[in-house]
């Protein structure tokens, strides 16, 4: 082949490739929005059997088993996948035996503080819990409430600091630093699926003290889903592993389940 021609083709191909890549790179806002949807809003609702293993720095383990139900509150009667609005969560505990039947109900609001209820069967008590601060431990694990229900994307400013072969690396800086314990956090977002595979939290001294890692991803009903994840606290040396089993999307969970009334009377059919 003519050398000149081949060089021209090659140059053209490289040029073309660069253009394609450039075209494919979405804006920071797009990345953030897609990531948010993939992480928390896939399907109109969802259900998972979650086993939690909390391990401390001495290797001592504690187990928890629960069912998590999620329902997206539709906007204008539309439960479209594009809409990322308010949500409802129902967390029902199976194990350990002494917290069996304990349940959490969370109404996540974008415009105001969440509503959170707790049902303690042994005290026959439904209790509202203030959710002003979502960065508290979720039932003694290394995950925070906010990690389970999702951090509001408007709470941080986002910055694309790096684009690698597989990931977009976002640096997120809180708009109100006093309300959170981190100075900023970095997310490694898979470029194809927009799943967060790694998150690292840094303190004021730029020291990484906390990290999330997706350990396993399965495609369920067409949705790429993290089925194993770990949160590590580098300060204490402990970590929590979450495993999602029997994940199901678009279950058709009725709205009424997500009310105080159903805390005492668990919706058994959706919990098994």
């Amino acid at each position: 082949m003519n050398t000149k021609l081949s060089i021209a083709l090659l140059v053209g191909a490289v040029f073309l490739a660069q253009r394609v890549v450039a075209d494919e790179t979405p804006s920071v806002d797009e990345i953030v929005a897609k990531t948010n949807r993939v992480s928390y809003y896939q399907g109109a609702d969802g259900r998972a059997q979650v086993s939690m293993k909390i391990v401390d720095d001495q290797g001592r383990e504690r187990q928890r088993q629960m069912t998590i139900l999620r329902r997206d509150v539709p906007k204008d009667g539309q439960a479209g996948d594009e809409h990322c609005g308010d949500q409802q969560f129902y967390v029902y505990f199976h194990r350990p035996a002494d917290v069996n039947k304990m349940a959490f109900l969370v109404h996540k609001h974008l415009a105001r503080d969440d509503d959170r209820w707790l049902y303690l069967p042994a005290l026959d008590l439904v209790k509202r819990i203030s959710a002003a601060d979502k960065r508290t431990s979720f039932v003694g694990s290394h995950f925070y409430y906010e990690d389970v229900s999702g951090r509001h994307i408007d709470d941080d400013t986002h910055e694309l600091v790096e684009t690698t072969d597989n990931y977009y690396v976002l640096k997120n800086t809180p708009k109100e630093p006093k309300t959170v314990e981190f100075a900023y956090f970095k997310m490694w977002i898979h470029r194809k699926t927009f799943l967060v595979v790694k998150t690292e939290y840094y303190d004021g001294q730029d020291k990484k003290y906390r990290a999330y890692e997706a350990k396993k991803v399965d495609t369920i009903q067409g949705f790429p889903t993290v089925t194993q994840a770990r949160m590590t606290d580098h300060r204490t040396g402990g970590f929590t592993d979450l495993e999602y089993k029997d994940v199901k999307y678009d279950v058709g969970l009725p709205e009424e389940i997500f009310t105080e009334r159903y805390l005492r009377r668990a919706p058994r059919e959706f919990l098994r």
């Binding site: 401390d56 001495q58 001592r60 383990e61 504690r62 194990r95 350990p96 035996a97 002494d98 917290v99 069996n100 304990m102 707790l118 303690l120 069967p121 042994a122 005290l123 008590l125 209790k127 509202r128 819990i129 203030s130 002003a132 601060d133 960065r135 508290t136 431990s137 979720f138 039932v139 003694g140 694990s141 409430y145 006093k178 309300t179 001294q205 606290d233 300060r235 204490t236 402990g238």
Partner: protein
């Protein structure tokens, strides 16, 4: 023929340059090795650099059960030693609860979070996650709306208004684990607790905090305290003191000697000997790789007086004799000859006294004892070898006017004030012997009463003088708070021996019961639960642990659950739950009865009035329970069921500091600890609390077979103190016997041996009597000084008695001998007393109490033992003259049946005491062994004393024994 002493002195005087060169050479080499290995650790890889260990915990060896337990519980419960920063504001009406004060507190907390350093590749310093400060702890309270529980930071940011500042105080006062801990009960002060990764960074933290605090203005007062700070700061100040006290003592001793002997060039020699002894000993200690501990830091202070003592004896004698011959060589040979044996024995006995400390079970005390002994022996060797050499360096012209002026042979007019007084004293002891002895007995009786009053107590914080910032902090904070001394009371469920068969049997019984219970609702239940028992029996076969057993049962049940349908599925669901309930059945600290007992135990702690505050799992459960039930004070209680307790605990774990739970209980809920805050760190008070709890637990038997056991620094101090008191007592008894044995051998007579023990005994009894009467606590320095008094008192006695005997041989009667003994020998003793007692007065200026104690006691020991030697000994000799000088025979020890037997028995006791400490044999066993041993010795001694050799040497004296 020359005696050994004279021969050595002669040789050294002749080869004075060689002797000096060798001494200097050795000193330089040892000093250099120690210095080089410490300053450039890599230069001499075979030597370890100097290590400093100021941790009183190391008074116990690492494998001591209490330390092992302490370390284990600390690890299991994630506990750390803590620095306490108290913030007090006496000016503002709201105390520290005003915006400006709290702003400083917030800033200081943020600063404290950053106090971490890389040490040996590890990050050490403040444990950020466990830091207790208003901005780092959670508040649990009723939220704005009725019935809303809120977990939020107590002080997320600095409050803007006085109301907001006061609100922080009021919120914290509601929480039992913050009230009296974070916020003072009077609502005016607060305290930050800074846990440390390791104790020895506490001084660094202390200094950094003080620098930060210096930047703040305003009315806040900051007090930093806590045992680790006290201990670590003590270590640092100790070394500063070493650099001041020891040289200051040297200077004073030097000046005093100059006054006595008026010849600079001669007075320098004891200084050289003391210095070289200290360098050799400390050098050897460092080269041998032992850490410099609080105890070993005192070695120089102990060696110096003893080294000076030897040299002063020689100098004093040389001073008194020189003018008789005006020949340096002859005089020094004569002096060394006269003093050789007494000095050998004084050094041996002092060394033995200290070496006996090696028998105590306390590692730093062992090192201390052995190295002081080494120092004493090297001081002796230096005195004998170097003094003659040194004298030869001095030009005869320089000595022209040196020494006592009037001399006529052995008897000389006592020169100067001391001489005249001593002469009179000598006469007094001869004339008034019996009254003197009577008086001594009375003193001993009073002292005996004093000893009965002795309080054994120590408190590292009280090692500082009352005006020291640490003492001030301690006082102020303990006024405001429930106490800053931390001890922990561990409650442990007995370890279960796992046995698969037992587990299966228990499981079966419980399963049958549960199956029957469910019968009404679910008729299939009994059958399925019977099947469950079967599954349990099968799946636990050959299993090694409880956890594994339940894992297998649960897996088997879940497999059934997956395939079951209809009602059977419900029953299998119940079965699965039942399995987990059985697994959790051994979590004793979720049991309401156990928690109620813990709460009662805490009340018993409070009753002691020494405990200001205690925190436990019970408090935590009660608080959560109250806040779940609308904050009603009536609900501040343990809920009635296990599950309710568990649900309160999981609620608590929804806070910012979920892991705080694990400081109170282990995740298996079988070990728990009560955090006890004492207002006093006195060992006596800690012991009192421990005794009170033992008594209470005796009357209120714990549920679930719980065992209670203390740990924490405050308690560890008690344990090592108890060990030290007992150990010191035995070590002292041991050294007493060693000295007695040596004395008996030296004087070849039991009676003389006993006589030489008199000043020592009187001194010890008098000193400890005084300690008891004055109310001074028997603490570490006081305990150690008993060994020093042994060394000093016996030194005086030996010199006095040895010379008495020698003079008596020449003069025939005590009446003629006494004045001579009250000449030179007595003067040497008095000079020694004055020089050393005064020499250590600089210690009184030290800001560390143990140094002051050493200074005071050292002076007292010298005065008392000097007085006992110069008053009681001559009085006793006067009374016992007949027996003392009657049957004198220069035969071996074994030739006198009595002496031999006494020596043998003393030896046996010595061995018994030593073995008892090491093998922990009961005294009963020891007694039996002794009963066998003593008749054997008696027979052996009898035979020995009748042997031919003795008869030949002493043909004129028959066996009087």
């Amino acid at each position: 023929m020359m005696t050994t002493g004279a021969a050595i002195a002669d040789w050294c005087a002749r080869h004075h340059k060689t002797v000096t060169a060798i001494m200097l050479g050795i000193t330089v080499v040892v000093g250099a090795l120690a210095a080089v290995s410490s300053i450039w650790p890599d230069a001499l890889p075979f030597l370890k650099p100097i290590t400093v260990d100021t941790d009183p915990e190391n008074m116990l060896s690492h494998d001591e059960p209490v330390r092992v337990f302490h370390d284990q519980m600390k690890a299991e419960l994630g506990l750390h030693d803590m620095v306490v920063v108290g913030v007090v504001n006496e000016v503002h009406p709201d105390g520290v609860f005003n915006p400006e004060s709290l702003r400083q507190v917030y800033e200081l907390t943020e600063f404290a979070k950053t106090l971490q350093w890389e040490i040996d590749g590890q990050t050490e310093g403040v444990v950020e996650v466990d830091l207790i400060a208003p901005s780092t702890v959670d508040n649990i309270e009723q939220g704005g709306e009725l019935g809303v529980v809120s977990f939020a930071w107590l002080m997320p940011e600095t409050p803007e208004t006085p109301e907001a500042a006061r609100a922080i105080r009021d919120k914290a006062a509601q929480l039992p684990f913050l009230n009296g801990t974070l916020v003072s009960e009077d609502g005016r002060a607060l305290a930050l607790y800074l846990p440390l990764t390791r104790k020895d960074v506490s001084h660094r933290v202390y200094v950094a905090l003080q620098e930060k605090i210096a930047e703040f203005g305003g009315d806040n007062e900051y007090h930093i305290t806590g045992l680790p700070v006290a201990e670590d700061t003590f270590g640092v100040e100790m070394f500063i003191q070493m650099a001041i006290s020891a040289p200051a003592a040297m200077l004073v001793i030097f000046l005093l000697m100059l006054v006595f002997f008026r010849k600079l060039v001669l007075v320098i020699s004891p200084m050289i000997i003391a210095m070289v002894s200290v360098i050799l000993t400390m050098g050897a200690l460092i080269i041998a790789g032992f850490p410099v501990h609080i105890m070993s830091s005192m070695i120089p202070i102990f060696i110096m007086p003893i080294a000076v003592l030897d040299a002063v004896h020689i100098l004093s004698e040389f001073f008194d004799r020189y003018q008789a011959t005006r020949d340096r060589h002859k005089t020094i040979v004569h002096v060394v000859d006269a003093l050789f044996m007494p000095m050998l024995y004084t050094s041996l006995t002092s060394a033995a006294g200290f070496a006996s400390l090696a028998l105590t079970p306390i590692p730093p005390v062992q090192v201390f004892g052995v190295f002081v002994a080494v120092g004493i022996l090297s001081a002796w060797a230096l005195t004998i070898l170097f003094m003659p050499a040194y004298v030869m360096f001095i030009k005869p012209q320089t000595l022209e006017k040196f020494g006592a002026a009037q001399h006529d042979g052995e008897v000389h007019e006592a020169p100067g004030l001391i001489g005249r007084l001593l002469k009179r004293l000598g006469r007094l002891t001869y004339v008034q012997a019996k009254p003197i002895l009577m008086l001594s007995v009375i003193v001993l009786i009073i002292a005996g009463y004093g000893i009965s009053l002795i309080v054994i107590n120590d408190n590292p914080v009280k090692w500082f003088t009352p005006t020291h910032p640490i003492r001030v902090a301690d006082r102020v904070l303990n006024e405001h708070f429930g106490g800053t001394y931390m001890a922990y009371l561990a409650l442990t469920a007995p370890k279960e021996e796992f046995d698969a068969g037992t587990l299966a049997a228990d499981f079966e019984a419980a399963a049958a019961e549960r199956g029957a219970e469910l019968n009404d609702e679910l008729p299939e239940a009994p059958a399925i639960f019977a099947e469950l028992a079967q599954i349990a029996a099968e799946s636990t076969q050959g299993v090694n642990s409880r956890d594994e057993a339940f894992e297998r049962i649960a897996a088997a049940v879940n497999a059934r659950l997956d395939t079951a349908t209809g009602d059977a599925a419900y029953v299998w669901d119940e079965a699965s739950l039942f399995v987990d309930q059985q697994r959790q059945a051994n979590e004793v600290f979720k049991r309401p009865d156990v928690l109620a007992w813990v709460a009662d135990l805490q009340r018993a702690l409070q009753v002691t009035r020494i405990v200001g505050k205690s925190n436990s799992l019970s408090d935590l459960v009660k608080t959560v329970h109250r806040e779940l039930l609308l904050g009603d004070e009536k609900e501040f209680r343990i809920p009635n069921t296990r599950d309710a307790v568990a649900q309160c605990l999981i609620t608590y774990q929804n806070s910012h500091r979920a892991d705080d739970l694990w400081h109170f209980v282990t995740p298996d809920y079988r070990k728990s600890s009560i955090w006890v805050q004492l207002t006093s760190g006195d060992n006596r008070d800690m012991s009192h609390v421990a005794d009170a709890i033992d008594f209470w637990v005796g009357r209120n038997p714990p549920p679930a077979g719980l065992r209670h056991e203390w740990f924490g620094l405050t308690y560890i101090n008690v344990v090592w103190q108890q060990k030290m008191v007992a150990g010191m007592l035995q070590a002292f008894a041991g050294s007493f016997l060693v000295v007695f044995l040596l004395m008996t051998i030296l004087f070849r007579s039991t009676l003389w041996g006993l006589l030489s023990m008199v000043p020592l005994t009187v001194t010890i009894v008098a000193i400890y009597g005084a300690v008891g009467l004055v109310g001074k606590a028997y603490d570490m320095p006081v305990a150690v000084l008993s060994s020093l008094s042994l060394g000093l008192a016996v030194d005086f006695a030996i010199h006095f008695l040895a010379r008495s005997r020698r003079f008596q041989t020449d003069r025939g009667s005590w009446k003629d001998t006494a004045p001579a003994v009250f000449g030179e020998p007595a003067r040497a003793i008095v000079r020694n007393i004055v020089v050393i007692a005064t020499g250590f007065t600089p210690l009184l200026l030290a800001p560390l109490v143990p140094y002051q104690t050493v200074g005071v006691l050292l002076a007292t020991i010298l005065l008392v033992s000097g007085a006992a030697t110069l008053l009681i000994l001559p009085a006793l000799i006067r009374v016992l003259e007949k027996w003392l000088f009657a049957a004198e025979r220069p035969a071996g020890v074994t030739c006198s049946c009595v002496t031999c037997l006494v020596a043998a028995v003393a030896g046996t006791l010595l061995i018994a005491i030593s073995l008892q400490q090491y093998w922990q044999l009961g005294w009963t066993t020891m007694t039996i062994i002794s009963l066998v041993a003593i008749p054997v010795f008696a027979v052996t001694c009898g035979l020995l004393s009748r042997r031919g050799a003795c008869r030949v040497e002493t043909p004129e004296i028959g066996e009087t024994a």
